[in-house]
Symmetry: C2
Amino acid sequence: MERADVVIVGASAAGLSAALTIKRNKPDAKVVLFRKVEKTPVPCGIPYIYGTLKDVKKDIIPDEHFSSMGIDIRVAEVKKIDKEKKEVFYNGDSINYNKLLIATGSIPFVPPIEGIELGNVYAIEKNPKDLQVIEDKLGGATDIVIIGGGFIGVEMSEQIAKLKGDSANITIIEMLPHCLMAAIEEEFCIEAEEQLKKLGVNIFTNSQVVKLEGKDRVQKVILKDGKWIKADVVIIGVGAAPNVEIAQKNNIPFDKRGGIIVNRFMETEVKDIYAAGDCVQKFSFITGKPAGIRLASVAAYEGIVAGNNIIGNRVENKGAVGAFSTKIGDVALGSAGFTRISCERENIAYVAGEFVGPDKHPATLPDTYKDMKAILIFRKDNGKIIGGHIKGSSMAGEMVNIIAVAIQAGLTAEELYLMQIATHPLLTGSPIAHHINRAAGDAYFKLKNL
Amino acid sequence: MERADVVIVGASAAGLSAALTIKRNKPDAKVVLFRKVEKTPVPCGIPYIYGTLKDVKKDIIPDEHFSSMGIDIRVAEVKKIDKEKKEVFYNGDSINYNKLLIATGSIPFVPPIEGIELGNVYAIEKNPKDLQVIEDKLGGATDIVIIGGGFIGVEMSEQIAKLKGDSANITIIEMLPHCLMAAIEEEFCIEAEEQLKKLGVNIFTNSQVVKLEGKDRVQKVILKDGKWIKADVVIIGVGAAPNVEIAQKNNIPFDKRGGIIVNRFMETEVKDIYAAGDCVQKFSFITGKPAGIRLASVAAYEGIVAGNNIIGNRVENKGAVGAFSTKIGDVALGSAGFTRISCERENIAYVAGEFVGPDKHPATLPDTYKDMKAILIFRKDNGKIIGGHIKGSSMAGEMVNIIAVAIQAGLTAEELYLMQIATHPLLTGSPIAHHINRAAGDAYFKLKNL
């Protein structure tokens, strides 16, 4: 009987980062990692297959790095677990484990709309074969509708617009007043929409799809208000649900909506079985309450927490922060933690500090993004940062990580205002006008003057 | 007799940020700011006048923003202070102050080398007129020698190389084994030198200038080992000394090498006189010992600390961190806090964590910088980060600020390893391979396994 120190089911962000963690520290451990798919796509890279990479094969996480560390990657679906004998079954074979990690990720949520089963209607599956089908279909499409204006929907629309130019009508349909609004400050959502419009994307917000119509293949998308949109391809990007199939089949406690139940060490309620990533229940770093943040960076984090606990380093999951970035047209956006709207929803009294300034100094330098903006959100009661949002040049991608770290470190407006920051003409705002310092300063004075 | 709430002498990073701080919180305060020069150049932008902006006028901090806040900027040199009557004298006139801030900055250090007084030998003065002279002289020069391979010397060489292309011989002379070595990890210094060489810059390291020769104007630069280099323009960039003239003339205690003596509230030993920026004595955030870090971002920070204390917010200067970034050729470099060499010099036992990976994900994306590298340095005794260095794409400019914040927040390798970080294909490394997480993880395991 084959025996592994650690068996991991699932080879995306959580599974891979757990495997790396374990082998980094215990190079002799036998780590066997199962995945259903032939190759693992880079999940966040999927939209960029269509307008930038133009090849599904370019969006693959290479196995070599993991194999070279001795991680044994096997392509097979694991369905059955014998919890007593500590054995998993795959392809008619089986393997014993000392520790098991479930990292089966999520499945795209498919809303129960009439006609959703029609041809040419696609959810985004993290499987190269399915991604290739979408690429093939987009090639000949002239009327493309994207249902959902979250990150995946917005990025898909932007990339499809880049791919198709004026040769197709591209429409995005979002239920909320603006795209990206679940994660980003409203004014930045509007900016993202402006960028999409510049690329020719039609945007319907406050809109809901009630029906898809067509013969075999989709032809029309019908909205709640009676409007309809011509469609020969429909892409669904309305979120993801935890993939709990393996837990369900093997009696590992889970919550249908939230995911597999784990403690702060990523242990399930079954001895020696851990779970991490999109398949597990999450809670908010900020409120401690259940949260629906399914994100590769949270999954990677949980994989690291699980991996450490599996090898005996007792580290604790502190909850999901929700730190995002994206680039739409010429504008990069970053977001970490709470927005003003989420503060209001959670009844957290807050003060927001703002700053607008160039991303370089002097602003006469070539390619200066003149009105880069930061909005930082601090709790009124203790002055600690709980959210931050950046709009501007690509530097937003790492600037938001200053905010993410500040949130996790529990820094106050005063501390962030009084941070020494490296600045350089070509790379940042000026020493007297760095966005993070100045927005924190704005909030610091607002808090002082309350 | 005219009377101001606050008089500030000096209008660069420290003076301006103090003025902004005071007016932001006390809009009715009368703040009068004196400067000797007609216009304030962006100090860190000076090298970019020559190869990028190509116009001294483009490297000016605009007065409008400050004037619109009601800051009264006057062009005049303040030499005399009546400390009893709390009065400063300028242009035959005078003004009373409630609080006075000295922010007179630094003056370029000019080494006592034979021939240094020859024509066409220039130190970098923060004065548009002097900067214009250099621009004019560079126009006709064919043999340009830069003495000093710190940030200013390296950036000047790079920009002059961009300006002159193959039409001039550009040589940089540095005493240490590598350029930038006082601030940056050695392997990254070598990378910067490679970039300079690609641009055609000749580099003499471990080299010292002993003499300049010429008739009236410089013609030769003589090195200690007897070599000589042809020169029609020499630029000196070997550091800056505190400008303590006003303190010296008015009996405000100062240290000739270190600068004006201040406490942690930026108060000099004279009642109601504060000082901040390059003109004051510094100490290290990391060791608490005197430090020679003269940097616009430190000056801006001290200006904010001074400004707050002037208006009655008791905030403390925690010492200079030393956070830098630059871009040389195609490579951006960031550095915060200690290098391995500075740990050794200070007898601090440390562990360094490293990670190399692409700046985007997947690495098949256009313009991916494949081997972006982070080196993070943690104390062995408590695991806290005290230094960090990044080499790679321009994103290094804000990545180093994650490190700067982590140092100031006192984060450990474990905390930084377990940070949730926003990632995006076009903007950052992947969620399982973000440089900061992974380099911190490397150090975490090294510390665990000690």
